[in-house]
């Protein structure tokens, strides 16, 4: 309880928070703290994923009438059953790997995630998912604030970002996260060899250790320079890893492979961040279950299936959770370019050896006028606040109190995905 109590006091809400903490919540903390090796792998689908074609309401006539050229045919979906509202649902045909995980009971599909007055701007919406605050697109991120709760000194690889830039979700006042877009070139480079190159590494490390008094912007560059130099050797361990299964030979597959290597080699990172793009499908999504969107689904599903299989084979699945999200869903009706424009409610997915698989929430009914829609029935109305999914991950998975991290109590609506 030490970490949580310190947080309560720092945020000045000790009595209130403890007062409403249910016994199950306390046991969840105790349970999670018994497993300090738990880790979270965050996958961001960049551009606004068309959730309605990821998880298809294949018996909703309005789905087909509003998407005449891009709908996934009912006969092709990978059926996953019927949700609480009676909607029959199926995964995109290129998500065979995810269907396997669903059938093993280890994939949770949380439907209609979002927030009130969903932003249709990529940048604003991405920042909102990062800050976990629809009123603010600046400042620290929810995962950065989680990292801030970990004991100091913080391991420089407590979190591992596989992309070149730091997403807002990982921003923190006190916890820097290394960006490792290519683990194979995460090495020291010199125009010279041998002892001279070694002298250069020493010089570079000394230079980057300079506190740069009065120049915080220089100190920031120094911290990245130094962070790289200090983590080179451990990252090299993760790259010297032989997976138990072949990963797809694309950027996403290779990033997942590196993450699996870091997990298998026991690097100790708690949070991994991955991104796969191309989801801003304004045009050419493709019909009949094929085309551009199907390629995106193939990359996603094949990669996650390889990753899940690999860590399961190594006995590491029960300590690993993957969460998949995007900044918004897309319009229900297709546009003139066989694509879809920016919409609202989306889909979040969680998978892993400890995830309680199944369908969470209810699908929208896509006929115009239905209360599950908004924006003159143009978009899907959200049902589950995305922050209540974050709350599940923080409270139930990491065993920290989500309330101060999220700036509010979102536990009530949390899907019980663990």
């Amino acid at each position: 309880m030490a970490i949580s109590r310190r947080l309560f006091i720092r945020h000045g809400v000790a009595t209130v928070t403890l007062g409403i903490a249910a016994p199950s919540f306390l046991s969840a903390i105790a349970h999670a703290q018994g497993n300090p090796s738990r880790r979270l792998v965050v996958v961001y689908l960049g551009g606004g994923n068309d959730a309605l074609n990821t998880l298809v309401s294949y018996r909703d006539p309005a789905y087909y009438s509003r998407r005449p050229s891009i709908a996934v045919p009912a006969g092709q979906v990978l059926q996953v059953g019927t949700d609480a509202a009676g909607q029959a649902l199926g995964l995109h045909p290129r998500l065979g790997g995810l269907a396997n995980i669903f059938n093993e009971g280890r994939l949770a599909l949380v439907q209609r995630t979002g927030y009130q007055n969903s932003s249709r701007s990529h940048f604003e919406a991405t920042d909102i998912y990062g800050t976990a605050n629809p009123q603010s697109t600046t400042g620290s991120g929810w995962l950065g604030r989680y990292l801030d709760t970990l004991p100091r000194p913080l391991d420089s690889l407590a979190a591992w970002n596989t992309t070149g830039e730091t997403p807002r979700a990982l921003l923190s006042g006190t916890s820097g996260v290394p960006a490792i877009p290519n683990a194979n070139t995460y090495t020291f480079a010199s125009p010279n060899r041998g002892a001279v190159a070694l002298q250069e590494r020493v010089a570079a490390q000394t230079m980057a250790s300079s506190p740069a008094p009065g120049r915080p912007h220089l100190a920031l560059v120094n911290s990245c320079n130094l962070g790289a130099l200090e983590t080179l050797d451990r990252v090299a361990q993760a790259t010297a890893y032989t997976p138990t299964i072949a990963y797809p030979n694309n950027g996403f597959g290779l990033a997942l492979r590196t993450v699996a290597g870091a997990i298998a080699r026991g690097i100790g990172s708690r949070v991994f961040w991955l991104s796969t793009g191309g989801y801003d499908t304004h045009a050419g999504q493709g019909g009949g279950g094929g085309g551009g969107y199907a390629n995106l689904m193939g990359t996603l599903g094949d990669g996650l299936w390889a990753f899940y299989s690999d860590i399961r084979n190594q006995g590491l699945a029960s300590d690993t959770t993957v969460i998949v999200f995007s900044e918004f869903g897309r319009r229900i009706s297709e546009n003139g370019s066989a694509g879809t424009d920016h919409g609202a409610g989306g889909l979040m997915m969680a998978l892993g050896g400890s995830v309680r698989g199944g369908l969470y929430g209810t699908a929208a009914s896509l006929a115009p006028g239905h209360p599950t829609l908004e924006n003159n029935s143009g978009d899907v109305r959200h049902e589950t606040d995305f922050r209540s999914v974050y709350a599940s991950l923080l409270d139930q998975w990491f065993g920290v109190n989500s309330v101060p991290i999220l700036g509010g109590d979102f536990r009530a609506g949390s899907p019980a995905i663990f």
Binding site: G47, R120, S121, H122, F123, E124, N161, G164, E165, T166, P178, A179, I180, P181, N182, T185, Y186, F188, A189, S190, P191, N192, V196, Q199, E200, V202, A203, A204, T206, M207, A208, S209, S210, P211, A212, P213, R215, P216, H217, L218, L220, V221, N222, C224, N225, G227, A228, T231, G277, D280, H282, A283, G284, G292, N335, G336, S337, D341, H342, N375
Partner: protein, 490 residues
């Protein structure tokens, strides 16, 4: 640690790509304000940089395919642009082309998926002269580098690359396409908070019928003929002729509504909206903020007086950019020493400046491609329509490693050149250190990094000031300086 004097060095780092040995004579006797005029009124300088491609005393271009065809091959186009930035006599023109490239961020990858490699490259980089078809987007940015923003915006709305990138090519009254309509307000002009969702729908309708047409020999998915092309066309029958009402004024009389018009005149809708957006006070302020961050400082937030003044110049001068830049570069906010080294270099700025300072002897520009990608900035490939994540967003452990890898590659390639050119000034390690800092210009070094560098030089042992020892230590020193945190600031 200056090449000329600190103020001119600062100006040339920001309004150009730093000072190369070739520039020193040009600027040596100029006052700062004279140098501003020299840079801003660049039409007085010959536009001869492309004609110098291939000279042995310049950086070298070639691709792995041994083909250099910058109008139709994107890797060649990337090299041509880098070559221009390194060797141009009009640095501000290339600098502003880079600024507009980020502002109207259009990515090759989507164009390829739509039209194939040859047409995608032509849409982005075609320079008029040899092939038929409209000029590429980057040539448009060079043409309007310091020109009129309203005119540029109108050209961008008709630009084939933009019409593919934001899907205007399919925009019709039957199925209005919101992509360009949204981004022209969110990213190209007023910014988020100054338009509504209803404005997005109205803007989509405004640009219905703003499409593409292929030349007679153009066929989609058949790009064998490099002379074929696509160009802007206004399709009257696809235009939504109804009135469109916005949340902000469109006309000088205060009217918010673009009137109903016949199909034949419907193209005027877009001209009216673009004019209104270009003259919108929030566009003026938004561009002023971008210029603050691009030219003045990423450390200090924009000074409200600066924003008001720059925005006023922009509006008073009918959205001309040149007088705005004259204001910015002569302003006390820009010239104040606190603005020196107060920006994080974009990877392209960083690479070009380092090449200009360290050397380009037999340097193959094609080898800059993957380093730049690893640093997070491949030309013609912004990550999304919002452009690159600027400022501190460039800097992470991964991108810093990529920058130091580039520093090592560059220093290694210039090893003999560094040794030979520094030999007259390298009688002692301290002399080499001083000589190097006359051409390689990081932000001022504190005691700790300066001593670390001297320790590295003294580790050579008995100093003979030449030969392999000098080549080794000079290239190592260049690598450490170009890879230093201080050098990432500009």
């Amino acid at each position: 640690m200056a090449q000329l004097n600190p103020d001119i060095d600062h100006l040339l780092r920001r309004a150009g790509f730093g000072v190369s040995a070739a520039d020193a004579d040009t600027f040596r006797d100029m006052s700062t304000s004279e140098a501003v005029e020299y840079l801003v009124n660049y039409e007085g300088r010959p536009d001869d940089v492309d004609a110098r491609i291939g000279r042995r005393d310049h950086a070298q271009v070639a691709t792995t395919k041994e083909l250099f065809a910058p109008d139709i091959d994107i890797d060649s186009a990337r090299q041509r642009w880098l070559f221009r930035m390194i060797h141009t006599r009009r640095p501000l023109q290339e600098k502003m082309a880079l600024f507009w490239h980020n502002h109207f961020a259009t990515a090759y990858s989507k164009l390829v998926a739509d039209s194939g490699e040859v047409q995608a490259t032509k849409m982005l980089a075609h320079k008029r002269g040899v092939l038929r078809g409209p000029q590429g987007q980057i040539e448009l940015f060079r043409q309007y580098a310091v020109g009129n923003y309203r005119d540029l915006l109108l050209e961008v709305a008709k630009d084939p690359a933009m019409l593919v990138w934001l899907d205007g090519q399919s925009n019709s009254k039957a199925k209005p396409q919101e992509n360009f309509g949204r981004e022209v307000m969110e990213l190209f002009t007023v910014g988020v908070d100054y338009y509504t969702e209803q404005d997005v729908y109205a803007a989509a309708r405004v640009f219905t019928g703003w499409n593409l047409r292929g030349s007679s020999d153009y066929r989609r998915d058949d790009y064998g003929d490099v002379n074929s092309y696509q160009e802007f066309v206004y399709n009257p029958e696809r235009h939504d002729t109804g009135a469109k009402t916005f949340s902000f004024p469109i006309y000088a009389n205060g009217s918010h509504t673009i009137p109903e018009r016949g199909e034949a005149e419907g193209i005027q809708d877009g001209i009216d909206l673009i004019t209104a957006l270009a003259f919108h006070p929030e566009t003026a302020r938004r561009l002023a903020r971008k210029f603050w961050h691009f030219f003045v400082s990423e450390i200090q937030p924009p000074d409200p007086t600066f924003i008001d003044s720059a925005a006023a110049v922009y509006l008073q001068r009918g959205t001309d950019i040149r007088p705005v830049l004259q204001f910015v570069l002569n302003s006390p906010w820009f010239t104040d020493p606190s603005a020196h080294y107060a920006r994080y270099s974009w990877p392209v700025e960083y690479v070009v400046r380092a090449i200009r300072e360290v050397g380009w002897q037999n340097l193959m520009l094609d080898r800059m491609r993957s380093p730049l990608a690893n640093m997070g900035q491949q030309l013609f490939e912004p990550p999304n329509v919002g452009g690159w994540p600027l400022g501190a967003g460039w800097i992470s452990t991964g991108t810093m490693l990529a920058r130091t890898h580039f520093a090592a590659t560059l220093a290694s390639s210039q090893r003999e050149f560094l040794g030979a050119s520094l030999k007259p000034k390298s009688q002692t390690p301290q002399a080499l250190f001083n000589a190097m800092l006359e051409r390689v210009t990081p932000a001022p070094l504190d005691t700790v990094p300066a001593e670390a560098l001297m320790t590295y030089l003294f580790a050579a042992g008995v100093w003979n000031g030449g030969g392999e020892q000098l080549n080794t230590r000079a290239s190592g020193l260049a690598r450490l300086l170009v890879g230093s945190s201080e050098y990432q600031l500009v």
